[in-house]
């Protein structure tokens, strides 16, 4: 028994050593790619392959390899190329990783082709997609992609006077004579609430108003109660709300109850929450050219314009959609994964469910912004 066991151990050890040697001398392409090895991509003998190689290098964050593969690299530096992809200023994209990509040929000839590269980024707030149309040219037996670089927007030198409003809060400290005192929470009010049944479950839509004269951090929780008034489930609005509300500002909210059935619900208990927080009235972000695009591919598109002089690192756009009687029928959102530069438009595109598009007659858009005041 001991001899057999010893032989098995020797065999297994030997096999492991042999496999390690084989894997080191002749790794599979995927392993080499993940290891960041050079020269691992197949030769770009087709336009699609050239673009796939480029996307693979971007995914591996092998900026030098990706830049070297470009046909138009003389037009910009490697650093500009990298920042065009990751952002010139800290933003969601800066900390995102390329999750996956796909390529779609648009046009092809013997010597050049147009390829659409759809990239899906994994960000801290979910998947964010971007698309670039690449012109690919033949160079001997190789194909090289031209990167459609978007250079850093240059804002004209100017002075933007900032006389912004800011609220500070003095909280009671430990041992303070105030004791049980505290500053009163801002008064907020739900001005609209509407449950709907969707395929994925029950969705509660509504709007919340800060009716106070101080800024508020807000959120909304909802509890579904059965017809016998026993709780079925409780959920919060999470990020489907603009959390910071200035005085008299209104935010939409959306609360998801996956797998719930509206027919089981007897009533709904809404619990708005507000607390006083320090806040600033700046930056002001305008929503320009907002447009409801009908089905198919219904969407709300427009542009954000940062009217302040500071960089906004993350912008969150929330669209509230109303029917012709003014009732909220849907709430949708989108994070802008690029920093908003002063006075520089940034497009947004919020998807609207196809089945609801026909009932939407108006919309209202609000923007939340987050600024770290840092730069790369």
């Amino acid at each position: 028994m001991n001899i057999k066991g010893g032989m098995l151990a020797v065999l297994l050890g030997g096999a492991t050593v042999v496999l390690v040697i084989i894997g080191t001398l002749s790794p599979v392409p995927a392993a080499r790619a993940y290891a960041g090895g050079e020269g691992i991509m197949p030769s770009p003998t087709t336009p699609e392959l050239a673009v796939r190689n480029l996307a693979g290098a971007i995914k591996a964050r092998a900026w030098g390899r990706a830049y070297d593969s470009l046909g138009n690299k003389a037009e910009f530096s490697e650093e500009e190329f990298e920042h065009d992809i990751t952002g010139y200023y800290p933003s969601l994209r800066t900390y995102a990783t390329l999750d996956h990509f796909d390529v779609r040929p648009l046009r092809a000839s013997d010597n050049d082709a147009d390829i659409r590269l759809n990239i899906y980024w994994s960000t801290v707030v979910g998947v964010s997609s971007s698309s670039r149309d690449l012109h690919v040219v033949r160079n001997g037996d190789r194909w090289q992609a031209d990167w459609p670089i978007v250079k850093k927007p240059m804002v004209p030198p100017q002075v933007i006077p900032v006389n912004y409003l800011r609220w500070d809060v003095i909280y009671p400290g430990p041992g303070d004579d105030w004791g049980a005192q505290s500053v009163e929470a801002p008064h907020v009010r739900i001005i609209d609430m509407h449950p709907v049944q969707r395929a994925e479950g029950v969705v509660i839509l509504g709007e919340l108003l800060n009716e106070d004269v101080v800024p508020a951090y807000v959120s909304v929780n909802a509890t579904l109660l059965s017809k016998s008034q026993t709780p079925i489930a409780s959920e919060g609005s999470f990020d489907k709300i603009s959390h910071i509300l200035l005085p008299k500002q209104v935010t939409p909210f959306l609360i998801n109850f996956p797998d719930a059935q509206l027919s089981d619900v007897g009533s709904i208990r809404m619990t708005p929450f507000s607390t006083l927080v320090p806040a600033s009235a700046d930056p002001v972000i305008a929503i320009d050219n907002a447009h409801l695009n009908p089905a198919p591919n219904a969407s709300l598109t427009g542009e954000l314009i940062n009217q302040s002089g500071q960089v906004v690192n993350v912008a969150h756009v929330l669209g509230t959609f109303y029917n012709n009687t003014g009732q909220v029928v849907w709430v949708a959102d989108e994070y802008i994964d690029r920093a908003l530069l002063p006075q520089t438009p940034a497009k947004f595109d919020i998807h609207i469910p196809e089945d609801l598009a026909h009932s939407i007659s108006s919309e209202r858009t609000v923007v939340s912004s987050y600024s770290s005041e840092g730069m790369l």
């Binding site: 006389n163 409003l165 800011r166 609220w167 049980a180 500053v183 004269v213 005085p247 008299k248 447009h291």
Partner: protein
Amino acid sequence: MSHRRLIPADATSHSRIVGAVHSAILGAMLGAIFAAAQPAPAQSGNLTLPSSIEAGGAFSVTSSGSGKGTLYIVGLGQAIKREVQLGETTVFAAGTLYNAGNYQVILIGDGTDVTESLAVKPAAQPADVSFLAKPSRLPVRLQGGITGAVYVFDAYENLITAPLPVNFDLTGPAGGTQTRTVISRDGAAWAEMNSTDHQGNDKFVARIGNVSSARIIGQVPGDPCGLKMTASPNRGEVKLETAPIRDCSGNAVPDGTVVTFTEAYNGLESTVDVPIKRGIAEVEMPAHSGAVISVASGVVMGNQIRWERQ
């Protein structure tokens, strides 16, 4: 830059009220325990003492018989033990018993085992009030928007449960005073007041005899009233500017309040949320001929302007 300090008005010691309630419950429990454990009638001797005293008042206990004994006075939060000479009077100085409630007075001596009860009642004279005023901040012209609740205590922080007249006075920023007089019941009294027309600070005072407590209530402007904007061309854009924004009582709506400008044109829409600065809200928007521009703040709509090419 504008700084605002947000200072609340409501203040009270909840712990004292909670403590009083706990004391009452504890007293009842102790009473029940002692009643259940009360020994058989004393074999000899008895106790002479008042059936009730005022909290902190002096009192005396006289026993009969002879010899030495031990006198226990047990109640909520207090227990006193005295070696006494039977047949004599034992004097307890003022301030000895100060927690209101029911006490058991027990005399144990040679062949003597007597129990009597003694009620310690709150002093008649109020010495302190706990005053809860809510909210610390509210809009002007709100009927019954301010609530004041008072708990009345004696010098030893016993809740005075006897009815007492409590005056509530609310003096508004413009100087007018609202007054309510409420008779306390079971140690508490409360009243509702209206916020007045003017923004500023109210002084809210609760008074019982010579004892009073004051709180500050902030009255803030209400919703904008008669929101109106004007439009003028400005370097190829349209400059929108509101008139000074006031509520329906004429108070200036505070800076920082958000005003929403919306411009609808050719099926497109532009929106800007602008905070009020120096009493007005202003913004520049693209000039589109035929555009309909509207203004709103919260749930209040303002006027509309149709913009034609200038």
